[in-house]
């Protein structure tokens, strides 16, 4: 029967799609992605507001605060979205009282006349907020420098002329390294839960058939090779669908945030990731099928799947933190390349041909893994009475005259 694998694959998909655990896991993952995007977007758009006290008559301080509040003198701090409100109080005692009853977050004074020290002071009941301190520091420095400049018969702009340093990335990539790191983390996570989740499902479905000897009935009806192919294709289809769904949710979510400017770069990355993952998952599924066939009972699965689990966990940990040369190397080594290459595409580090070469390496590795797995699966599946090792599975008589 040529199309037996289709019957098998259809069953795998239907059974999985109706599995409550699978659906709940998927819903939780979608919620997590949504939450992550929501949190990022909140952090991006968050505005902090402060009330800063100034004593009547301290005109320098009042001017500095007003210009800071207008955002005029503090170009460098404008990213932080700090909002200032000036609270005018009568004297130092009133300022301290305002700090104490929290009607003011800080108190700015411009010199010796008020606090007894020579220079500017930003006081707070506790240490003033660092964003606020930075904003005021910058504003005050600009204001004082402007004063000195005018005393010296020149202007600020004359003094600072030609001193700006602009940054420029030669690769022209606009993506913030922090976003790249975040994306690397998300891809590594998607890879890990996709591979382990679907892998465990396929191992479970193999041992279910082996333990119940149902596989003996199936084996007399269809070649084991077709059974394995159906399982791999079925669970790969599920894993692909799951990742498309998650990637879609992620990209739609991103489009509502400030990150939407880099949506094209992210979309390219996601497409590469989905392609890499789909190819790589075929190998993962095949290896998990072997892990299932090596067990003799469901309880054995945690032993037989643990080497795979370690591998995937290792990939997860190494890939999301890798950068530089390590990342470049990993982007060619399956299965790490499934995560590392798309991340390199995102940070603009990969030349156009690099993902293609890495994909070829992945395809070759997958073909190898599937051929190896097919042999081990057939060797182990009919062996009952205890766990089977890879070695005996490979040396096994391939079970049966049914063979392929």
């Amino acid at each position: 029967m040529r199309n037996a694998w289709m019957v098998v694959a259809t069953r795998e998909i239907v059974v999985r799609a109706l599995n409550k655990g699978f659906l709940i896991g998927l819903a939780v993952t979608i919620a997590m992605i949504g939450g992550l995007i929501g949190f990022t977007s909140y952090m991006e758009s968050r505005t902090q507001s402060f009330d800063v006290a100034v004593v009547a008559g301290d005109e320098s301080a009042a001017t500095a605060l007003e210009s800071a509040a207008d955002g005029r003198g503090a170009a460098s701090a404008s990213d932080d979205r700090v909002e200032l409100t000036v609270v005018r109080v009568d004297d130092a005692a009133a300022a301290e009282a305002a700090l104490e009853d929290e009607t003011a977050d800080a108190w700015l004074s411009s010199g010796a006349g008020v606090t007894g020290t020579d220079g500017w002071t930003l006081s707070g009941w506790r240490d003033p907020d660092s964003d606020l301190a930075q904003l005021i520091e910058t504003t005050v420095r600009d204001q004082v420098l402007a004063g000195h400049a005018s005393d010296a018969g020149t202007t600020m702009s004359a003094l600072t002329a030609g001193s700006e340093v602009e940054t420029e990335r030669l690769d022209g990539n606009p993506v913030d390294p922090q976003i790249v790191f975040m994306a690397g983390f998300v891809l590594a996570f998607l890879f890990f839960i996709g591979a382990v989740g679907s892998g465990a499902m396929i191992a479970g479905s193999v041992i279910e058939e082996k333990q119940s000897r149902l596989v003996e009935i199936i084996a007399t009806a269809v070649p084991l090779r077709q059974l394995l192919a159906g399982k791999i294709i079925g669970s790969s289809a599920i894993a692909l669908g799951q990742n498309l769904l998650l990637a879609g949710v992620g990209l739609v979510g991103v489009s509502f945030t400030d990150l939407s400017a880099i949506l094209p770069a992210m979309t390219a990355t996601m497409v590469w990731f989905v392609v890499f993952f789909t190819v790589g998952f075929v190998a993962v599924a095949a290896l998990y099928a072997v892990a299932g066939s090596l067990a003799s009972r469901t309880e054995d699965l945690q032993y037989t799947t643990s080497p795979l689990m370690m591998l995937l966990m290792g990939v997860y940990i190494v890939t999301f933190s890798a950068d530089g040369v390590l990342e470049r190397v990993l982007s060619y080594i399956p299965p790490a390349s499934i995560v590392s290459m798309p991340v390199r595409v995102l940070n603009g580090d990969a030349l156009w041909w690099e993902p293609l070469v890495s994909l070829l390496v992945l395809v070759a590795a997958t073909v190898g893994a599937v051929l190896l797995s097919e042999r081990a699966y057939r060797g182990a599946l009919m062996q009952t009475g205890g766990r089977v090792t890879w070695r005996t599975a490979m040396a096994g008589e391939r079970g049966t005259t049914l063979g392929a």
Partner: protein, 314 residues
């Protein structure tokens, strides 16, 4: 005629470096249209033989023939098989998984559905079709399993312990079902521990011990191989039978004696002696039951050292 024949079938397991012959040159035929019972003690090699017939276990030497030719993959696809350990997908509805198994055997989805429903109806499971298998009782799971084996008009049936765990009514229903298939000319081979059942049902019987076929034939033929004893009931005491030449007294109890007649003249001598002493109420042959024959045969086979414990360790 499409007999299922096993010829000189041998399976050697190597465990711990020592080879062990689980099945040792077994040969027999499950004839077309007949129920053939396959009996033997635990570890006699029944399951191993059946797995080799179905091709789920490699054959060390010997062959399996169907319809006179070596069995092919296509033949086996059309055999109905019930493995030793019962199992189905516990979390899938009965109907869905039977249809799935039927489709794997190449039956179209709609035809599979129709046939499955028909069989479930016959076995009284029509209202359980949508239930998960794990919710069914063991007996009902067994019925579902038999449906899996008989779907799609199989060309032969190989059933490992199909009656274990069934109540008498379920046994009868299943026998009716199997008879339907033998009427189509299909050979049915089934293993069982229940000798009385086998004796009642089977046209043919194969007794396996230590991996070898100890006996093979119809129940009557097998019984004829055993020693026939006679029951003698007299009006007086039967103690004298111990002194009659050529007669072995197995058991004497007052006027009744169970004897083994060792030569042709002995019966005449015994009866003459009995009539001299009074009336003879009964002198009748006592045919051995299959269970007796089976016990004698397996006791002989059991004298050979055999390690059966790890039969399933391949």
């Amino acid at each position: 005629m499409s007999d299922l024949e096993v010829r000189d079938l041998t399976r050697v397991f190597v465990s711990g470096g020592t080879p062990r012959r689980a099945v040792d040159g077994a040969g027999f035929t499950a004839s077309s249209g007949l129920l053939t019972g396959f009996v033997g003690s635990n570890g006699a090699g029944k399951t191993t033989t059946m797995r080799m017939i179905m091709g789920v276990l490699a054959i060390t030497s010997g062959e399996v023939l169907f319809d006179g030719a070596p069995v092919t993959r296509q033949d086996r696809r059309e055999f109905g098989y019930m493995p030793e350990e019962r199992g189905l997908y516990p979390k899938q509805p009965v109907l869905d998984q039977l249809v799935y198994l039927a489709r794997l055997r190449g039956i179209a989805a709609s035809a599979a559905r129709r046939e499955v429903l028909e069989h479930l109806d016959r076995l009284g499971l029509a209202d359980r079709a949508k239930e998960h298998v794990e919710k069914l009782s063991l007996g009902n799971q067994q019925r579902v399993q038999i449906v899996a084996a008989v779907m799609g008009q199989p060309k032969a049936l190989v059933l490992d312990e199909p009656f274990s765990g069934l109540d008498p009514a379920a046994v009868d229903a299943m026998v009716d079902l199997l008879r339907e298939h033998t009427r189509r000319g299909v050979p049915v081979l089934f293993s069982s521990h229940q000798l009385d059942l086998v004796e009642r049902l089977c046209e043919r019987l194969v007794i396996l011990g230590g991996g070898r076929v100890l006996a093979n034939g119809s129940p009557d033929e097998l019984r004829a191989q055993g020693v026939t004893r006679h029951r003698l009931i007299l009006s007086g005491d039967a103690g004298f039978v111990r002194g009659v030449p050529g007669v072995l007294a197995v058991d004497v109890d007052g006027p009744s004696a169970l004897v083994e007649v060792r030569d042709d003249g002995a019966a005449t001598r015994l009866l003459s002696a009995a009539l001299e002493r009074g009336a003879v109420h009964e002198f009748s042959p006592v045919r051995p039951t299959l269970a007796q024959i089976y016990r004698e045969m397996t006791a002989q086979a059991g004298a050979e050292p055999q390690a059966h414990a790890d039969e399933e360790t391949v």
